[in-house]
Every structure is written in C-alpha cells, then in structure tokens.
Amino acid sequence: MTAEAARTVRSRGRSIGFATGLYAISFSALATSSGLSVLQAVVLSAVLFSGGSQFAFVGVVASGGSAVSAISTSTLLGIRNTVYGISLTPVLPRGGLRGLARSVLTIDESAANALAAPTPELQRVGFWSAGIWVYVWWNAFTVLGAFLGSWMSDPGAWGLDGAAAAAFIALLWPRLVRREAVALAVAAAFLALILVPLMPPGLPVICAALVAVLFAFLPEGPTGAAPAEGSSAAASVSSDEKGRA
C-alpha cells in the first residue's frame, strides 16, 4: 500500500463523513418534532447508527404508528448492513473492542468506501476512515439538530419533511442503474401507496419489501445472463459511493 493511495482513501472517508453527518441535523430536528426526546435521538444515533433506519423509525413514530411497526421498519431497512458485514468479514479484525467497533460502524458509507478500494489494506483504511468520521459528525450534528429542532416550532415551514423525502430519493437514486431496479422500485412504491389507507403506518413499507422476494424469482435481465452476485453487489456499493461522495 502506498502512502499516497492511503491518503486518497482517507480523505474520501473524511468528506463522506462530514457530508453524511450534516444530514443528522434534519434527522434530529425531525425526531424531536415527532415526539422523541433529545436523549432518545442521541441513543438512536449512537447505537442504532444507520441513517435510513433512523429516519424510518422517526417517520413511523411521527405518523402515529405502533412500536412494533417502528422497530420492524427500522430493522428491515437495516438488513443491508448484515450484507455489508458478510462482504467485509475477510478484511476486518475479529473480537475485542475493535470487533465491536467494526459492527457499530458497518453502514452504507463505510462499506462503500471500503469495497471501492482495490487491496485489503486500503479496504481497511477505507472502512475505518469513513466509519469513524461519519460516526463523529453524525453524533455531533444529532445533538446540534435536536436543539435547533426544539427551537423551530414548525419543521414543515422549514421544508424538513421535503428534505426527508429528498434524502430517500438520493439514497435510492444510485441503485436505479438497471431497468430491473427501476421496475422493482416503481412496483414497491405503488404497492406501498395502495396499502397505506388499508393498514397501520409502517406496515405498507414492509409489505412492499416483499416485492423484492417476488422479483428474485423472476428471470434475470432480457438476455438471461446473470452477472456474478458478488460483483453486482460490489458495483452497486461503489456507485452508491460515487453518488454521495
């Protein structure tokens, strides 16, 4: 590993960390305006530590959903973190404090910054730099946003609900590279909207996730030639990273 390459990966981690962290301002403003205490928002950022899941949790609470809906929506969204761990197992340390830190810091950004690097050494640098900097800024801005949130009487007037919608669009955007992904996204979105008036808040999202299971049983692509699963997962992660860096 050259020092130059490590510096590049590390500085990318720092930028990803700051840009992602800023977004916690809107998370925590939304959380505190949805009825969570500052301490609850802080616990979510420090322990749950997964942006999509945290927004989903708060979204369910804001719409009056049950505890079970909030927990299951957040957990379903976190399934991808398990998948990242699987790809990262060979390059990261086991056991002890570093093993625990490895689990906590396993998120979109750290996995993306790691899996985009060419060698195991650089992958380790990529994982820790993005993971640590996102963690630092995400938690700092959660505390700041909570106070901004209680100071702002109506987050709707600041467009924070529009910002949350935009954030999910931005998270989804880099994944819409293949026609199949677009079809799946449209189908899942439609199903969720159809189900919203029929069941408690939070559940439509879980039902829409089952569309993914259905799609997994369809033949893959018009040519029928399936790319290797490992390489397609890596490609989607690295395009994520480009989308956000």
Binding site: A187, L193, V196
Partner: protein
C-alpha cells in the same frame, strides 16, 4: 405511543440494528452465496427505499396526500439528474418545500 413504549422501541431498534450488523460477520459464506438468497438481499434495499420515498413524499398517516413535499421531491430528482452532491440535493429540496408553503400551497 406512550413515553415508556417509545423508550422500549428506541432501545429495541438500536440493539436489533447492532445485532444485525454483528450477524453479518458470523454467517457462513456458503449459505449467503446461494444465488436466490443473495439475490433477495441485493434487491431488498431498492424495494424498501422506493416504498419509503412513496410514503414520505405522498402520505400522511393513513391517507395519500399531495402537498408541498412533491415540489421538494421534484427538485431533488432534477438535481440528482444533474449529478448534484447529496447535501445540495437535501438543502434545495427543503428550500423548495418551504418556499412552496410560503407561497400558500400544501
């Protein structure tokens, strides 16, 4: 949701998140390399995120609602199309949503 219930949900969701992150490092590769399983896992985030886009943009409680958020979402799509950075997309969407409300709609 009551105060105690909300705390229980915060703690349960947090521990489950930590648990599922830990789990990834424990599952034998042979199981996850089964084509069907890995395919479901790679498609799941797309379906979940799309459903969240739909519910965050177009619903309120148990009803489908078109309001100022749709303007913020449209601005976000245009900016993502033009390859704008994440942060700019979020700020512009918030501004567009807020401005639309200021003008008296949604």
């Amino acid at each position: 949701m009551s105060g105690g219930m909300l705390w229980a949900a915060v703690i349960a969701a947090s521990l489950l998140s930590l648990g599922q992150k830990w789990l990834g490092y424990q599952i034998p590769a042979s199981f996850l390399n089964r084509p069907r399983i890995s395919r479901i896992l790679s498609l799941m985030p797309i379906a979940l995120l799309a459903a969240l886009v739909a519910t965050q943009t177009l619903t309120s409680g148990t009803s489908v609602v078109v309001d100022a958020r749709i303007v913020g979402a449209a601005v976000a799509v245009v900016l993502l199309w033009r390859r704008a950075p994440f942060l700019l997309v979020i700020i512009a969407a918030a501004a567009a949503t807020a401005l639309t409300r200021l003008l008296g709609w949604g």
